[in-house]
């Protein structure tokens, strides 16, 4: 009896503890949120409306993201980082997957793509079974939780030059960029998420978070095309330790870096084929 009570206390305590940082920042009232009921999205050639997503949101999203969009759905307390990242708190208006610079709002397309894609290595499902109209409406619904979408415009998407031909020289140049800007501090010299700073990483809400392991066959959360990977390190994943490198990597170098990152990944690619002939050593962790 004693031990059972004990267990309950521990469980309750843990739930309260994990819920605290999230609740302490969720301050909006139902009225405040309702005042943005006229929020729209413009995506996939369609105008999305908040009301039209109300049913889908309540049916499919509330369990994790909460009816106030504050990530306090009943499932959320059981998601324990870093294995299971917490759901996004939509009230904060901070998003990981953006085509826009760090510190700016994502475009409607970015949110649409994130919802379609789902988040690998998390509880966030893939929603590509929904029609594009349903997803466009959900984008409007997600936006209406945050006052930022009224007071600010989305950032201007970064421009990405056309992808050049991958060559041995470019892969080697990408290895130099990886060494120079020191991605390895978090991701490790072989991209295995075991860099010297990896063990202490926390997200903005204070939860532990793992760096991306390029070698384990999982996919980047924000898309796995070459362009997606380019975008990820040039915009950063806001709300996480993953910074933007836009000021420190030139567009041409960024493509070199994408090719080098490909050599770590299990997914077949031309860069990976070429790398087999290059016998590249991991960069030095003591430059």
């Amino acid at each position: 009896m004693r031990t059972r009570l004990h267990k309950w206390f521990l469980l309750l305590g843990a739930a309260a503890f994990f819920a605290l940082p999230l609740t302490s920042r969720a301050q909006l009232t139902t009225e405040d949120i309702a005042s943005r009921d006229n929020m729209e999205s413009h995506v996939a050639g369609y105008t999305g409306h908040v009301q039209d997503a109300a049913y889908d949101y309540r049916r499919y999203c509330v369990g994790c993201h909460g009816d106030m969009g504050d990530a306090n759905g009943e499932v959320a307390q059981w998601l324990l980082p870093p294995m299971w990242p917490k759901p996004r708190n939509f009230q904060l208006g901070v998003f990981k997957c953006r085509s826009t610079p760090t510190g700016t709002l994502p475009t409607d397309d970015d949110l649409f793509n994130a919802i379609t894609r789902g988040f690998d290595r998390s509880a966030m499902p893939i929603w590509n079974q929904f029609t594009k109209y349903q997803r466009a409406n959900l984008v409007a619904y997600v936006k209406h939780f945050s006052p930022r979408f009224v007071t600010e415009k989305p950032g201007t998407p970064i421009s990405i030059p056309p992808e050049p031909e991958v060559t041995p020289e470019r892969i080697k140049a990408g290895r130099e960029v990886f060494a120079r800007v020191q991605c390895w501090k978090c991701h490790g010299v072989q991209g295995m998420a075991n860099g010297p700073s990896a063990s202490t990483l926390q997200d903005d809400l204070g939860f532990p978070i793992a760096a991306f392991n390029f070698t384990d066959g999982t996919r980047p959360k924000c898309g796995d095309t070459d362009e997606d990977i380019y975008r990820i390190f040039m915009t950063g994943l806001d709300g996480t330790p993953m910074p933007s490198f836009a000021d420190n990597i030139k567009p041409d170098e960024a493509w070199d870096l994408v090719f080098y990152l490909r050599t770590f990944m299990q997914q077949p690619s031309k860069a990976k084929e070429i790398a087999k002939t290059l016998n590249l050593k991991p960069v030095s962790a003591n430059p």
Binding site: Q182, S197, P243
Partner: protein, 242 residues
Amino acid sequence: MKRQRNFVALVSTIVLLCCGALLLNQKVSAAGEGKITGNVKFEGAPPHMRGIDMSKDPWCVKANADHPQHLENVVVATNGGLENVVLYIDGWSGDATVEKTVPVFDQKNCMYTPHILGLDVNQTFKVTTSDQTAHNIHPLPNPMINVGWNQSQPPGAPPIEKSWKNPEVIPVQCNIHPWMHGYFVVVKGPVAVTDDSGNYTIENVPPGTYTVKAWHEPDTTQTAKVTVSAGGSATANFSFNK
């Protein structure tokens, strides 16, 4: 001959610039701005500040080999002065500060210099790095108040220019070096931070009666009433015990 002419040109430029500065200055004193100065003391025995283990990054260890770094939560001078206290005016309603400098927040020897930057709302500041190791500069405002960002600054990175829209105490951290921790303290109006003897001066304060606020991390605030006369200097001293 040519050199002489250059010299004359230089001297007259300097004279002109000085006149300009004098004129501008006059405008300032015409408004009768005064200042608030004082000293902040720490009461009692200063708490022990743990040394920082930088072994995650050998470059940081080497950079601090001669002067090991300690935590900076409470920095007390030998004379009892308390460093890093932010002083500002409660409920400031005046114009924006007359002359706005662009303060610099530098990443140096794997520490933030200064530890705390006091800023007026919308005041531009610069983030620079002096280090040969990569940092990421990651301020953590409450997203309901200010908009955060996270940028890498590898060795040789260009400065980043930013500002904050709303008053807030904003912690800033480096995820690569988790001991690096500082604050942007954003207030409305003129602001000062105590130096390594606990002294401060708030400049550009028009005549009037004010409530001065003194803030020390993580969240202690004290207040004092002062009256500034035209072109005069008022004093407000404080003392903290944590």
